[in-house]
Amino acid sequence: MRVESKTHWLPKRGNKLSEYEDAFYPREAPRGREGCWRFAVSDGASEAMLSGPWAEILVKAFCRSRVPVTKTSARGIIGRAAMAYEAWLKEYLRRREREGRPVQWYEEPGLEAGAFATLLGLSLVSGASGDGRRWEAVCLGDSCLFQVRKNRLITSFAMKRSSDFSGRPVLLSTNPGKNRVALAKLKVTSGTCLPGDVFYLMTDAVAAWFLREHERGGTPWVTLEASDFQDLVGRLRQEGLMRNDDVTVTSIRVV
C-alpha cells in the first residue's frame, strides 16, 4: 500500500501569499511504500499575532511524532509545540532587534496574548490486517477530516454538519495555561481505509462549503478534483458560497 497526496492552499482574497496563516505538513508528498504516514493542517487565528508560525509549529510537531494518536499523546505533542513556539518567539524578537525593528507598543498586547490555531492530524498506521489499513485522527477546532469511499462520504470528523461551524472555534493557545478548556474538547477517532479511499484535510471555510454541498446531495470531492483550485475558490467566494478566509485542502489517496 502507498499513498498519493497533494495540498492546495490560498490566502484570503486581497492578501499576499506571505500573509497566509493556515499551515500544512508535510510540504511534499511522502515517498515509499510502507511506514506510518502523517498529515496535518492547522488554521491560525487571524485576529491574533503570529498565528501562522504557531500553526506551522503545530503541524510539524504532530507529523514528527511517532506515538499512536490518543488524547494523552496529543496533549504531549501540543505541550512540546508550545515549548518550541517559546524558543521560536525568542529568536523572532532577537531578529527584530537585529533588523532595527523592535517591537512597538501596539504589538505588545498581541504578543502578550499569544497566538491561536486549530489542529487536525491524520495518521495512517502500518501493520493493519487484511487489505485495510488503520487510521487515527486528532482534532481540536473546526478544521475537518473527510473520508470518501466509492464516491460516498463515509467519515466526517469532527464537524458533521455545515451548521456546526460557529465562527468561534476552540483554539489552541501558545500559552499552555490558557489551554485547559480547549484540551478538554480535544477529539480523537480512528477507522480503517481501503485502496481507493481518499482523505481530505480542510480548514473551515472550504470544509463548510464541502459539507453544505454534500447536504444538498452534491459530490464536492468530485468538484474539487475536477476543478482548478484557484478558479474554484475564486468563484465560490465571488458567489458568496465560501467565506473569504485562508483555505487549505490536503487530499490523500490510498493506492
Binding site: 486581497g14 500573509e19 487571524s46 485576529e47 499575532m49 501596539y106 505588545e108 498586547p109
Partner: protein, 278 residues
Amino acid sequence: MPYIAEISRGNPSCFLFLIDQSGSMRDPFGADPTRRKADGVADAINRLLQNLAIKCAKAEGVRDYYYVGVLGYGHRSGPAFGGALAGRELVPISEVAANPARVDERVRKVEDGTGGLVDQKVKFPIWFDPVANGGTPMCQALTRAHSIVQGFIAEHPDCFPPIVINLTDGEATDGNPTGPAQALQSLASTDGNVLLFNLHLSSQKAAPIEFPDSEENLPDSYAKLLFGISSKLPEYMRGIAEEEGFKTTENTRGFVFNGSLVSVIRFLDIGTRPSNLR
C-alpha cells in the same frame, strides 16, 4: 442585507469622532465629580485609538483596515489630532499608530499572583488633548463630517459604511442639528447608509439611558431630538450589544443619554468593534 461588507486593506472603512469642546465640558461627570467631562472623553478617545491600532497590528505592521478622524467643535472647530497629525481630517490607522503626539506613562494595578495588587507602568499614547472653551457648534461639525465622509465614500464606494460618533454634553448653539444629521445619514456606500451615533454626557447624577428603542421614556425634547438623529443599530452590532447585556430590538438606536464615563467607554467599544476584518 447591508452592513456585511468585508473590511480589508483594499476596502477599508472609516470612523469619525465629533467631540464637543464647549466650555461646559469643563464640568465634571454627574456620576464622578472628580472627573472633568473633557478629560474623560479625551482619555476614552485616546484609549479607543490605541485599541484600534492594536486590533489592526500584525507581525508585519499595522494594517490599514480603517481611516480615522477626530473633529473638535467649540470655540475653535476642526481636526483635533495633535503632533505630526495636526490638521489632518482622516488618517489611515497605521499612521495614527506611528504618530501619537506623545506617549505618556501611566500606572495600572495588576494582580501580583499572591492575591494582592501591584503598580505596573503602561504606555499610554496620546493623540488628542482635552479642550473646553466656547459654544456648541454641532451643526457646523455635522456639516464638516458630511463633506469628509462623502469624500471617503467616493474613494471607497463599496466600503463598510463609515461610523460617525458624536460626543456632546449640550444643545447645539448654531441651530437645529436635525437637517445636517439627516444629510449625513443619507450618505451611503453599496453596503448601507452612514451610521451616526450620539453620546450625551451628563453633569447630572441621573442614570444613563443606553441603547433606547423608543423616545417614550426620554426625559425631554432635547433627548428626543438626539434620539431622532441617531441611527438604528445594524444587526451585527445588536448582537454585540446583546452579548454585553443590553436588550435590543430592531428599533434600538445608537444613543446614550445622561451618559457616565463608564457608559461612554462601553458604547465606544460596542460601536467600534470590527465586524468582518480580512
